[in-house]
């Protein structure tokens, strides 16, 4: 009963406040009036009676306050009061509030967005069964190496996969180019993934001859096959080969990447020595068998690596897989992205630090100006705890506002981030803002609130008691917190310098990348992959005449200047390599033949791409006509393999060929692999062959997935439709995919550095703005505190420029210390960026200098308004001011 009455009374007191208040008012009014009536009855005038009644009653407000307390309205009441008061205080200083909330929301928003990425890509467990026992082996193996590993290794169940194969899907509407992955039979069972429909591959289905199966991705099944379950057991035509559909994977299964559309079994065949030991070098994943630790697996894999080169039919380089290890799959999958994400996380961490420092500084400055208010409240009996709680409530209120706005900014920011990051970033599709991220942000907001709230709260409540009521000692309060504030401002400048330097280095690197001469001209060139089935191209002459016919028809289109095909488009992300034998260059025993990047082209290729011939001649239509045995080399290849002499007239041949080819010309280098390197480090040179039956790939086939390049003055979209029409008209079974201008190919190749740079520039700009606000805050506080001193100085004859110096000195101090600190720490920290940089050293003096100058100008700018205000101080007003 008492419990219920208390609850009711508390309920009424807290949630039906206005009713409680009006009842209390009515009751007290009744008391006073009744008392006054009695007094009036004893002969006092009505007016006098009311007056005496009020006096005898005592302080009404105090009674009400005690009454509220008695009703238990107090706990919530205090909080509400604090909140109301806090809100009022914040509303009354909108400048402070807006700056603080914006500062925090930017910090929290940027952090939430980046944390969402880190969470989605790095932290969240892989969507597979028992992901903790999944591992990745850092090294790649051909089929033969993998099969040996599968048979010999005891601590792991292993599976191999190879991305980057493409398959024409024909026989069902428009031909489609599918992105596929070749997998060993155990691939799905190792991952612990089950198809949503049908079955996974059975052991043994990755053997040549019994490999005619395929598993579809959910999206392909939906889009191409109308989500029809009866597709199971039916065959589809991939590259002209029928394969039975045995399963469909669920939508959430996106391994090894989200763009995978079909999974096909490997076709292991030990009799095909070249493909078995020299074909695709595949990454290997594994699942630890029960009871075996990752360390044991690591030791066993290293043992295996020491044995496996002897199994190869040819000598393997000593450094092949030399640093092989076993890592958690989650880490192995995102290895490339990992470092970049941590960089971003570090950068936004700095932003949040700056934001916190900034708000702390603002709050500290403001707390000092509120000394008097707090002193009055303390003098009137407010407990210290109560004052601290009040100030903390304000801080948390600010942080929560900032957090809310921050979450909003984060959702927007994450959209931008996902758009800015390269689409092939692993697990990018998995990232979204979820409750964990919200918890992180919420925690961050509250922590930040406490962090920047506590110091000023404790400081001002302590300072309040002793000093502030006494105006004469008013200046003394400044020095205590002044040191803290200066330290904060200096830290802020240092953090900002660090970010500006990082951004500067990335900009310089990006500019260097954009100014790289790729060796070709991308303007007005349209590219498209036109890819007949391998089956179709098993007859080389059929394939070659298909392309010849296609080029002829395209050439006939008005406004098309030149057309050609090439097997590996520069910067297109594909590599074609062959071992090459050079006449009179004996390969030392035990060493492999040099590996060449092999460009197979039609004669007009150099003309379309405007790749200059340095010496000798390019290909002519005469070379195109049959099995002309000619070749071109690039300038750097000529220097490397024919040092001091001309390669023209010398002979080379593909490993395994009997006929020699004559080098007829030298062309200038092209950035074929990426904008930073012509070719990957593990390839030694570049050679061009005319597209003919003897220009074979490693498997002995001729390239059948050529890219058409068209130089034309036609409108892009027009040209695209002309191209598609022409291909379809020539052979309706052949898909034209990746139709895009060469410019797009180039810019896609730098999308990763571009996105990193953009993000860092945004962070640095944020840091600069926050730093500017921070220094401005500290200085203007300083000026307002020292108005009296400045007035006295001026009255005593100080010049305006002395005042200027007085303020600038402080600004210069922050600037100098902060910049030095920032530069020093940058020297150590920018090394982390080294892998992201091209053509600029992590300790680039120009960037460091520019960052220092930029930061100095920003601090100068921050000084401007406070300094001007100080110089305009009127001595008379200032002296009267206190």
């Amino acid at each position: 009963m008492t419990f219920w009455s208390r609850l009711r009374s508390w309920w009424n007191a807290t949630l039906r406040r206005s009713r409680m208040e009006s009842e209390m008012d009515g009751e007290l009014r009744f008391h006073i009036e009744a008392y006054a009536d009695d007094l009036a009855r004893s002969g006092v005038s009505r007016e006098e009676a009311m007056r005496r009644a009020r006096i005898d009653f005592g302080g009404i407000e105090r009674v009400k306050e005690e009454g509220r307390e008695a009703r238990g309205a107090k706990i919530i009441e205090t909080l509400l009061q604090d909140l109301r008061y806090g809100a009022r205080v914040l509303r009354k200083s909108p400048g402070f509030t807006i700056v603080a909330v914006l500062t925090l929301s930017l910090g929290i928003g940027a952090n939430t967005a980046i944390f969402s990425l880190v969470d989605g890509i790095l932290l969240r467990p892989l969507p597979f069964a028992a992901p903790q026992s999944l591992v990745s082996i850092t090294g790649t193996f051909p089929k033969g190496g993998f099969v040996a590993m599968r048979e010999q290794v005891q601590s792991l169940d292993t599976a191999a996969y190879f991305e980057g194969h493409e398959f024409n899907l024909t026989g069902r509407g428009d031909p489609l180019r599918l992105s596929g992955v070749l997998v060993s039979a155990e691939f799905f069972s190792v991952l612990g993934a089950r198809p949503e429909l049908g079955r996974a591959f059975y052991p043994g289905e990755d053997t040549a001859g019994s490999d005619n199966y395929v598993i579809l991705s959910h999206s392909l099944w939906e889009q191409r096959f109308g989500a029809d379950p009866s597709i199971l057991g039916h065959s589809i035509e991939l590259e002209g080969v029928s394969r039975e559909v045995v399963g469909v994977m669920p939508a959430e299964f996106t391994f090894p990447s989200a763009k995978t559309e079909v999974w096909l079994p490997l076709d292991n065949d030990p009799r095909d020595t070249v493909a078995y030991w020299g074909g695709d070098f595949m990454p290997i994943i594994g699942r630890l068998r029960p009871g075996s630790a990752i360390s044991r697996a690591r030791a066993e894999i290293r043992m295996f690596q020491s044995r496996v080169p002897k199994l190869f039919p040819w000598p393997m380089p000593a450094d092949w897989n030399a640093d092989i290890s076993v890592v958690e799959l989650r880490n192995g999958m995102v290895a490339d992205v990992r470092s970049r994400l941590f960089l971003l996380l570090g950068a936004v961490g700095l932003i949040l630090l700056i934001a916190c420092v900034n708000v702390a500084n603002l709050a500290l400055s403001r707390a000092a100006t509120r000394e008097k208010e707090i002193a009055i409240r303390t003098a009137m009996g407010a407990e210290r705890g109560r004052v601290v709680r009040q100030l903390l409530t304000e801080s948390v209120l600010l942080a929560l506002l900032g957090g809310l706005l921050g979450i909003f900014l984060a959702t927007q920011g994450l959209h931008l981030l996902k758009a800015a990051l390269p689409a092939d970033t692993p697990r990018l599709a998995d990232t979204h803002i979820d409750w964990r991220v919200l918890a992180f942000t919420g925690g961050l907001a509250v922590l930040t609130g406490l962090l920047f709230g506590l110091a000023p709260a404790l400081y001002s409540s302590r300072a309040a008691l002793s000093q502030s009521l006494n105006a004469a000692t008013r200046g003394a309060g400044v020095s205590v917190s002044h040191r803290l504030r200066s330290a904060l401002a200096i830290a802020e400048v240092a953090f900002a310098v660090l970010l500006v330097i990082a951004a500067g280095l990335l900009i310089r690197s990006f500019v260097a990348l954009s100014h790289v001469d790729p060796g070709f001209r991308a303007e007005r060139v349209l590219t498209a992959r036109v890819t007949p089935n391998q089956e179709f191209c098993s007859d080389p002459s059929r394939c070659i005449s298909f392309y010849r016919e296609l080029l002829g028809r395209l050439q006939a289109v008005p406004a098309v200047h030149a057309v050609a095909v090439v097997n590996t488009l520069p910067l297109g992300g594909r590599v074609a390599k062959r071992s090459l034998e050079i006449e009179n260059e004996a390969v030392p025993p035990g060493e492999a033949m040099p590996l060449f990047w092999m460009d197979v082209v039609t004669p007009d290729y150099l003309r379309v791409m405007k790749i200059p011939v340095v010496a000798g001649r390019g290909f002519t239509s005469a070379d195109d006509s049959g099995n002309a045995r000619v070749a071109l080399v690039t300038a750097s290849t000529a220097r490397r393999f024919w040092p001091g002499r001309s390669p023209i007239g010398t002979h080379v041949r593909l490993s395994g060929d009997t006929d020699w080819r004559t080098v007829v010309g030298i062309v200038s280098d092209v950035r074929a692999y990426d904008l930073q390197k012509n070719i990957p480090d593990w390839i030694n040179g570049t050679i061009y062959f005319p597209y003919a039956a003897n220009a074979t790939l490693e498997g002995g086939r001729i390239p059948s997935d050529m890219t058409v390049v068209i130089q034309s003055s036609l409108e892009e979209s027009q040209l695209q439709s002309v191209l598609r029409r022409t291909v379809a008209g020539l052979n309706p079974e052949v898909p034209a995919s990746e139709v895009k201008p060469m410019r797009a190919v180039v810019s896609e190749s730098v999308s990763t550095p571009a996105s990193t740079t953009v993000l860092f520039v945004a962070f640095a700009a944020l840091a600069l703005v926050l730093g500017l606000i921070g220094i401005y805050g500290v200085l203007s506080y300083l000026v307002s505190k020292r108005t009296r001193e400045i007035g006295i100085r001026l009255a005593l004859g100080a010049q305006r420029r002395d005042v200027l110096w007085l303020v600038m000195k402080e600004g210069a101090k922050f600037s100098l210390f902060g910049i030095s600190l920032g530069l020093a720490s940058a020297l150590g920290i920018t090394r982390l960026l080294a892998s992201e940089l091209y053509g600029v050293s992590p300790a680039d003096p120009a960037t460091f200098l520019a960052a220092a100058v930029l930061m100095a100008s920003v601090t100068l700018l921050a000084c401007y308004i406070p300094t001007r205000r100080a110089m305009r101080v009127d001595p008379i007003l200032a002296l009267r001011h206190q």
């Binding site: 009455s5 009751e27 009036e33 009454g67």
Partner: protein
């Protein structure tokens, strides 16, 4: 009657419970009744009455209801609850035994020790 006594700490609650136990009263009425019973020998701060009333109501010892006063004004009337009755009994017993003990101590003569 001649001299007013200050209220002993903590006794106001007891007096209010007692006053209300004699019949429903509004705040001013409680004040008057205590003064009347004590023959104006107790000085009660008018303002301090209300926080005490609210505290007692919060504890569930008295209940309140709006009604009409003698001179046709709206007034809030307090009544004793069951719990309040028990409380008053306990307080009274406690007070009486305390008063006995203290009276005994104060009444002690030297030869009795």
């Amino acid at each position: 009657m001649d001299k007013q006594l200050d209220l002993l700490q903590g006794t106001l609650d007891m007096l209010i419970l007692k006053a209300v136990s004699l019949g429903p009263l509004h705040g001013y009425g409680i004040l008057l009744r205590i003064q009347q019973i004590s023959k104006d020998r107790l000085e009660i701060q008018q303002g301090s009455l209300y926080p005490a009333l609210y505290r007692l109501e919060h504890q569930g010892w008295i209940a309140s209801e709006w009604g009409e006063s003698e001179n046709k004004r709206k007034a809030k009337y307090y009544t004793l609850t069951g719990a309040g009755k028990r409380r008053l009994q306990a307080e009274t017993d406690n007070w009486n035994s305390m008063a006995d003990v203290i009276a005994g101590i104060l009444g002690t003569k030297p030869e009795e020790v």
